[in-house]
Each structure stands twice: as C-alpha cells, then as structure tokens.
Symmetry: C2
Subunit: 331 residues, 2 copies
C-alpha cells in the first residue's frame, strides 16, 4: 500500500505533514518522541511516515540543532584480535546509549590518525574514543577536546594529556599472574614479548617486577619481541636457549602466548606441566586450546562500560582503571 514516489524528490517532513494533515512542526515533534504531541497526532504522523516511506535526514537535523549523535571509535589496529573485540564491544554499548558509533582504523600510524580525525571533525562528531597510536602528541589530543566534543583515550596513556583515560589495571594483572606462578613454587620466571614503545608494556612489566621482588629467591629475565604469534615463538626460543632452567613465563598478551606454546610444542614441552605459561587478554580461543591457556582477562565490556559512563556523565575525571581477572586454566 506504499505510495511509490522513490523516483521523485526525497520525502520531507512537509510531505509527511501534508499526508497526515498536521503541520511540519508537529511531525518534527513526533519524530523526536516528544510528549508534547497528542496520541492522535502521533498516530496520524506514524501512519503517514509509513505511507510515504519517509526517511529522517539526520544531516539537516544536526545542522539545525547543532548537536550530533555520532561517536567515533578510533582504533589503532583492527587486525589485532583484542582490538577488534574491544571495538565491537564499544560499538554495541554506544548503540545501546542511543548513539551512532562509527569505527575507523589508524594502522598504528600517527599521521593517518590526524588525517582521519580531522575529517571526522567535519562531521561534528559528539565524541572521540581513541586508542592512540605510538607518537601521539599530548597537545594534539588535548586540543581535540572542545565544548561540544568529548575525548576519551583508551588502553594507552599519552604522557601529559588532559583527556579522560580508561585503562585495564595492567600492573595488577601482571602482578597477580606472577604471584600465581610463584605460588606454584617456581623461582625462575621470564617476562616474554611486548613492545617498549607502548605504555601497556611498562605497566605489565612493573607488575611482574613488583611481584618478583616480594620474594628473595626469585630470578627473572625479560625477552622482548614483536607483539604477535611469531614474536612469541622467537622470544621463547631465545629464552630457552639462554635460560634453560626457566620454569614459567608471563606473556605480554595471549597472542604472544600462542607463539610461546607453539614453540614449546615443537620442543615437546607441555605448557603447564613442563613450563608454566600465563597470557594477557583472554581471547576467545584461549579457553579452547588443547591446553587451555591461563591468562589475565581484560573484559572488553568492562572497558566499554567505563567509557560509556564517561560519555554519559561528561565527567572529566582523569584515569579509570578497570579491574582485570586472573583466570587459571591448565597452562
């Protein structure tokens, strides 16, 4: 029963108003769910919308009202499974807030990041949720923050920036993981993987060192690597070569742990039984591996909730540390 006028000019509030027999203003009221319109009017307008196939023009609305409902999620590297997880969780929670989420990827490139964000500013986005690339300037991040534009930085801290920041409690996570290995009676423990250019790394390493220092007879080693599976494998091979007496390892994240486990398998060493392995993130795969991976879980939903809390309340509180949870499985 739809009136087919798709080939004509686009349908506007005026058309809907005409069909419904009310004014443009009333239609606008109904569209925004105002309680100032009578039920009878609402009904008529809704029917007219259905009949005409009207679609709301959010650009026009945004221009007039000077407020947008667009939230940009600026992710450093979507091909990283944890980032993708987080992005999806953020998108879902933002949508539940009644806002529109748009996702962009900066590929860890600071220049790309500035370019994309500049373009997004032209769309008057209401908020930026940014996982900053390495070399992000604090001044740049700060000036992004404006009366009608919120900025939240996530997962990584930019020195000297004034914008609210949501982080997992990296130090606590690594501390707990290390203590758990010490509780197994292990005294030779290594920290494997991670990139010193990122703030996460230092926080996790700090937790590791803090735990180790609490007991006098603990020996530790650190082996850096690129933050991927291959890096984990290489670092673990180096570790075993240099420190054959190593009893267990704390990995920078699960992906690195996967590489570690892969190398152990090649050496006929069984994770958990022969060498303790604890990861960080708790990716979906981790619980499903042949030897389920022990890990420090960062719940993406918790991060997303903390971000949404800041968005809703427009608070300027500096740092939100999201608790993490040690999940001991078989490794």
């Amino acid at each position: 029963m739809k009136t087919n006028n798709t080939n004509k000019q686009s349908v506007t509030v005026h058309d809907v108003a005409r069909v419904a027999g009310v004014s443009k203003s009333t239609v606008s009221l109904v569209l925004r769910g105002s309680d100032k319109a009578s039920d009878r009017a609402k009904e008529k307008v809704l029917k007219a919308i259905e009949e005409t196939g009207y679609v709301y023009n959010r650009e026009a609305a945004a221009m007039r009202s000077k407020s947008s409902d667009l939230v940009a999620i600026v992710i450093n590297d979507l091909t990283n499974p944890y980032s993708a997880n987080l992005a999806v969780a953020l998108e879902k929670h933002i949508r539940e807030l009644g806002l529109m989420a748009t996702l962009v990827n900066t590929s860890e490139n600071a220049l790309t990041q500035t370019q994309i964000v500049a373009k997004l500013q032209e769309y008057r986005v209401k908020a930026f949720i940014i996982c900053p690339t390495p070399n992000t300037q604090a001044s740049w991040l700060n000036q992004l923050q404006k009366p009608h534009t919120q900025v939240v930085s996530i997962m990584r801290q930019v020195d000297g920036s004034q914008v609210p920041c949501v982080l997992p409690n990296n130090e606590m996570g690594a501390y707990n993981a290390t203590k758990a290995l010490m509780a197994r009676g292990h005294k030779h423990i290594a920290f494997i993987g991670g990139d010193a250019a990122i703030s996460d790394y230092h926080q996790r390493l700090a937790g590791f060192n803090k735990a180790a220092k609490e007991q006098v007879d603990i020996q530790t080693w650190v082996f850096n690597s690129t933050t991927n599976r291959h890096g984990g494998r290489l670092a673990m091979s180096e570790c075993l070569a240099q420190v054959p007496q190593v009893e267990s390892v704390v990995c920078f994240n699960d992906i690195v742990a996967y590489g570690v486990i892969e190398y152990l398998a090649e050496q006929n060493l069984k994770p958990g039984a022969d060498i303790g392995v604890i990861g960080f993130d708790d990716l979906d795969d981790s619980k499903l591996m042949s030897v389920p991976l022990s890990t420090v879980k960062i719940d993406a939903n918790d991060i997303a909730k903390a971000v949404c809390h800041i968005l809703k309340n427009d608070t300027q509180e500096g740092l939100t540390q999201v608790p993490v949870e040690l999940i001991e499985r078989s490794s």
Copy 2:
C-alpha cells in the same frame, strides 16, 4: 598567531569571507578546490582559514548539495581475522578514492544489520558495502539500492539479489588446492570445516568435489564444524577417528586449519609430512607458523579494488569474481 575565538559560536564561511575580504561564495569555491577562483583569492582564503581556525561543516554541505561522501562498510563479524583484514583494506582504498569510510559490525545478526543500515540511511550514505549476515533477504538488499545510493555485496552471495557482488573465486581456489594434494599422490582426502548456511561453503566444497571427480580412484569425506579454531580441532579429531587412512585435508579456511594443525600436533602428526593440510585466506600468521601453512590466498586488496572499481564507475554488473592464488608452503 591564531585568533582565539573557540569559545564563541563556531566559525563559518561568512567569518572566513570577512577576514579574507571576499564573498562567502568565493570561500566556498576555494573550499571545494574549484579552478574558478583566482590564485590571489585562493591564497587570501587559505590564510583566513588558518587564522580563524575554520572547520568545514560537512553536514551543511551535504544537505545543500544533496550528496554525501560517506561510504558504509557493513561487516558481518569484525572479530574474524579475515573480515578485519578485509575491512581495513576496504577502508584504505575508499579513503584513497577521496571518500570517507565508516565501519560497522553486525555480529552475523540479520536484525542488527537492518537496524544499523536503517540508521546509516539517515546519514544519506553514498554507498553500502555489505558482507551480508545469514538470512539476509534479497528484497531488503535490493530496495537499499536507490538513485543516489550504491550497494555492493561482498564475500557472500544472496540468492535472488540484484546488487553487484564481489566474491573471491572460491570454487577455483578449492579446486586448485585439491588438485595440488592429488598431485602429491594422495587418494584419501577430506574437506574440513565450514558452515552450510553460507554461500562460501558450497562454492568451496563444489571446487573440492569437482577436482576429486576428475580422477577415478579418489575417495573423499566431508566434516563440517563451526568456523573457528576449536571447530577445526573437533572436526579433525572426528576425521581421524572415522577415516584413519586420510592422507590430506582441505580446510574451509586458515582458522579451521590452525585447529586442525593443533590437533595433529597433539597426535604427534606432522602437517605436510604425515598429513597434508591446505587452508583458505592466507592470514598473516599462516606464513609464520612452525610449519608454514599452505593455503589459498584471497588478497583483500584485490577485493577492495574490485569494490572501488564498481563504486567509481557506478556499474551494475552482477558478479565480479576475484582470482585467488594457491600458495604451497610446507603443510
């Protein structure tokens, strides 16, 4: 040297015009890079923009000109590594076209898909690039296509839909993979993993069967699974239990192959040496595994290029099949 008026109303073309000593229309011309403005005017305007800190209001522009440069990339599941790869490649190529890409995730949920797309329509996006969820209605996809809205479906084909579609040549890929295994002299070959609800599955399986039928003494089996690492492991365990004489397997994709390899390692079987394994996709990790994975590479850039070709030329050609490449490594 910037005039600080950030706390005032926002800066508009009028302000820039006043500062530059030209008309609003001239400013608009310069903004759009028109060659109808003199170099002297351009220079003055550019300087004024710098001075005033003007930022372009794309909503206002889009409303007036009735054309947007927003391209929506609607991805079925961003937590799938291949999808994330593809999304990143698409975003990059679309940006190079001078358009703005926005990424959204539907989590394989048809209802979410309709909701998100409806919301995006309110932003008057220029084009939808959709990897459709299972149960996507062809009629829904078709009516999305309008005079000013292009639609391209990627990776999956929706029966009965009229929108242009870009697919990897799944059948050819699986065919070549299977033939490569046959060339090793294998006669007992299984197809592992994949979900029958998705068009990919049937195309890849068809290629597998086609190759097997070309030689009289080939025996084949098919083991379905969920399309993840865990599924691959389960399917492979079932396969080995039921078909101990199996010599090699074609996997639905690399992720499934990872699960397969994991299970083989548990059974002390070496991929390539004991059992041939070929994947599909060529994820970054595949070349870096302890036994580098043989696989059928789907180049995400090729898919993105094909999509951009359709966007540029506004062609309505039905199906674009992107060539795939068999990469034989050690498995």
